[in-house]
Symmetry: D2
Subunit: 335 residues, 4 copies
């Protein structure tokens, strides 16, 4: 048995594109209680009140919603070198980005499915905002008194036309462990849930019904309790935000969920506990059949609505823009 690849440490931040910066910012800052740490040109940087880095979310103005990029922090400088070499060896080489706020040099590349990712080592830590010091020494700042404050980002899901190719890339080149997966009757891969941490997934791959590469399914943020999901849903319903699914509890991963669309058009998941965690270093991938899909997606609660399997960002006019006015509105926003 070869030694396990521990070079990636965790998901450090995600960049979301938004055609409605004011709306997106209101959503993440006022409703989810994220702290704005910097605004620079077309981008706003935010983080949860328990997060230690400069930012975990970057919002960037764009014509369409979608994923800008997702960034992984490696475990050491040597790990960074090893991973860059592995990417180049695999023919997925990218380029060094040097000017980003909040962290040092990052190596940017694209997955086979066309999603932009980065890996980096050096990071800037969060400063305590003026007037927000706390005696709780393991937080960089006080808990906000606005909205329902999310604690941290948790994971994200990508849409892909070839889950197997993306999964193999994440496992073979980047060192992810596949924790759960859904197999098609023909043995092909429908969806895959992978992590480099003790979470059940840091990233997931779900099928894209259209042919557009690089589409984004959702970003997930983390709460303490199912009660927070119900409270957020209450606030969201009254403010006209579109809730897509939940509260419910996933079969895969086991976390209680709420899915909604932020005003920029991206799907956001909120979870109320981490589900089960994985400590076994020889974890055997949990395999679901496609006919288990409803249970796998929603062990507790109503089955996911069709939109969940159809809508991604950037939007595809041909898909999901049916007669649901909320959907239409949300898609209009994106385009």
């Amino acid at each position: 048995m070869t030694e396990p690849d521990m070079d990636l440490a965790h998901l450090a931040h995600v960049e979301l594109l938004t055609p409605d910066m004011a709306g997106s910012l209101g959503y993440f800052s006022d409703l989810l209680g994220l702290e704005v740490t910097e605004t620079l040109g077309n981008a706003v940087y935010l983080r949860g009140f328990e997060e230690q880095y400069h930012h975990s979310l970057k919002l960037t103005r764009a014509a369409q919603a979608g994923l800008g990029h997702a960034a992984w922090r490696v475990r050491s400088p040597a790990a960074l070198e090893r991973k860059v070499a592995a990417l180049e060896r695999a023919g997925c080489g990218g380029r060094w980005m040097d000017g980003e706020v909040g962290h040092g040099p990052a190596y940017r590349f694209r997955t086979p499915g066309g999603h932009a990712m980065e890996i980096f080592w050096e990071v800037d830590y969060a400063l305590t905002p003026v007037g927000k010091a706390t005696p709780l020494r393991n937080r960089p700042q006080r808990r906000p008194a606005r909205g329902i404050p999310a604690r941290r980002i948790d994971h994200f899901n990508l849409m892909t036309a070839d889950a197997r190719k993306d999964r193999d890339f994440l496992v073979d080149v980047l060192g992810f462990r596949e924790r759960e997966r859904v197999d098609l009757p023909d043995g092909n891969l429908l969806a895959s849930f992978l992590s480099v941490t003790n979470l059940s997934h840091d990233v997931a791959l779900v099928p894209d019904p259209g042919g557009m590469p690089g589409r984004f399914h959702h970003l997930c943020l983390y709460y303490t309790s199912i009660q927070h999901l119900f409270d957020l849903a209450d606030l969201a319903r009254e403010r006209g935000l579109r809730i897509e699914a939940g509260p419910g509890r996933h079969g895969i991963g086991g976390a209680p969920f709420l899915f909604m669309f932020e005003p920029g058009g991206n799907r956001i998941e909120l979870i109320g506990d981490p589900g089960y965690m994985i400590f076994d270093p020889a974890w055997r991938t949990v395999v679901w059949g496609a006919n288990d899909l409803d249970v796998a997606a929603a062990w507790t609660g109503a089955p996911m609505p069709p939109s969940f399997w159809e809508i991604g960002t950037p939007g595809d006019r041909a898909v999901g823009s049916g007669d649901d006015p909320a959907v239409s509105r949300s898609l209009e926003v994106q385009e």
Copy 2:
């Protein structure tokens, strides 16, 4: 910078000694809903309904309560070899144990403070108990319908007369990262919280007011919600079990807690969420001063009672056996 030591993967199981096997078994099986997986001679093996190994808790009949041993699973066979070599190099060499149920060869050693630990690689996975199959594929069995079922073990705390020596051993020899600590005014170490996982601590070191080596402070099990802590407290009060502290929420680690004594006399903690998790591979230890101790121990809720800082197992007649009849009873049970 040297490469991080990732050889230990996680806390695999804990052995508790009990002078009241019937009482302890009733507590863990009926009240905490653990599944008994095997009974062998003087020992009973149990695990939580979401745990994947043969057992996470071994109860062994003994004259006094206390820790039997705690076992860490390594990340690979090579990691096992490396750690055994490191232990021997450090003069803490032990011996191989080969006959234990539920896992392969384990290397047993003692920490400087006198606590028995093991490391091992090969493990037996849980079998689904007859009649307890579940369509939820990431669990080995159904959720029990008795008591308030704990999901898994989380961490344990040791009492030690020299926290610095034990902390250095765990960090330097075994590869733990120190996540939080409490410093005495003279710069000496009062308490330390360490992990090899993304949890804020897998093991903690707290001071022992007496001079007895190898004493145990508590084992912690994991729930989903603060509600479970209140429900368990309700059941426990009516059944005459002694609750020592909580529900409250720790400053250190941030988990909501309940502390009680199982009938065998060992202190058990239950937590209702994991608190904050640590993903930063260069985590800077959070340092508390001894004058922060109340806040560090109980950020929410009443300060810990004196017994929390005094009682350990095996019990010490000279300590903590004051005029609280519940304490006295619990100590009598042990002896």
Copy 3:
């Protein structure tokens, strides 16, 4: 303004008919943790661990599922006389029942929609079961350590072909206050929610798509927290019980809900908090339009599935027995 009619005090018990006594008993006793207080002939009497009367639920063997009767306790002996007189004056006179276990003479009558109800004054209080004494003096017994223990019954819903007629009867003859209602576009009444207590409803009237009189929609029991609904759903899914809807939160009344079918075929609701309570003695009925129905039924969570508006007990072969095998199975059980 006339003086308010306070003669009815509250819902005292509900009798459910079951063609599967073993299944129903397992559900209510093992899963919902109700205490069996007496078994007599074809009936079993149960109550929640916080309930003070002999029983709040009577299960009676029958060929089909459905409501046996629902019983209201009046506020005084004089109130009983007044209500009997009012019933007789309204042409809804019934007869005195004298031999029931757990309470004194009860006057039984039928509502216009054909549902059997009783009113009574004298009641037997619960005895503490042997070995279940508690130091908590406001409970007759300990909290059970099995299943997810429900605290008490809360309300029930009836299906009716003429909600207006039933509503008027409950208001004019029995003294209920209408708390919320749903109006059809033509001004007719679709559904009505009424109470004599500070709860938002003790009884509700919902439309029956078929023509059968006296059908039952659901009985609701009460929990402390949404967490209990998720825990119960977890247990239920693994034991093959059919969950129909939720967890979600009602618009009407505001309680978080879970709907399922007990093995006998009756729909059972569980709520995780009481929603809002009504203290205003001049409460103005909250009026929803039929086009608000989805929001009114499920403010949080997926809209109610079609079965929710179709299935009642006893079952009607012509309704709801579609291609959902779970539905078919549940209906078969009843017949």
Copy 4:
């Protein structure tokens, strides 16, 4: 048996005196999310987002903290007349107040213990604040997105030197039912919990260790979940507010509690569920012995600290102003 007295319907509002209006307002509006409905002279009127009347809390500038008055809404105009007559008959006659905002003529009187109370019938309903309309038709406004929003006031506790006299007054003259009580070994009454609603208590009487008449113990507001108590405690700790006790769960009434002091110096309780409710019209008072006091006060959680039995508002320099700097500070604020 005489007919039960149902003339009082519920607690409508409480007036608190505050020597620190800015601080108190910040506490109730920003932290507890109450809506300010009117500001007039020395008073600010507020209510919870689910409350239907003009206000449930009146804050009035004063030299010292304490209770201004508490107001009960009667069930009908005739009930108002009956109660005024009963008060005058009992020698507790007061006077009519006609100019208060938010309700019609109120009859003000003093209890034997010297606390000011009012009864009234006519009330003004809340208007929906501009921009805060909601599709949830049973709320006058949206759920606030600030602090941890309390839903409504629940009850209040008074300190008294002669609990028996006050209890008898509330029962005999006003029609309260005594739900629970604590008896002294000599048979005298230590504390009493009474209600006119289905809540376990709308008002409670607790002993005053000093001799000052008319002192106030606490006002209680209502949340949905224990999680809210922990979240509020988190916010409060970081903002330097003094938490006195909890989270825990009362034996009496059974509600989960958190006790803190608002900046004006008044003690505020927050509860996370209503505890058990009382529907039995012939409820037999639950009697605790004084030696049960710890369990009665805190069934779950640490026993109440000494300050809980000592401090009331207005403060008494001779009591409770010991060496706890937080207490001293809070008392300084008042004086």
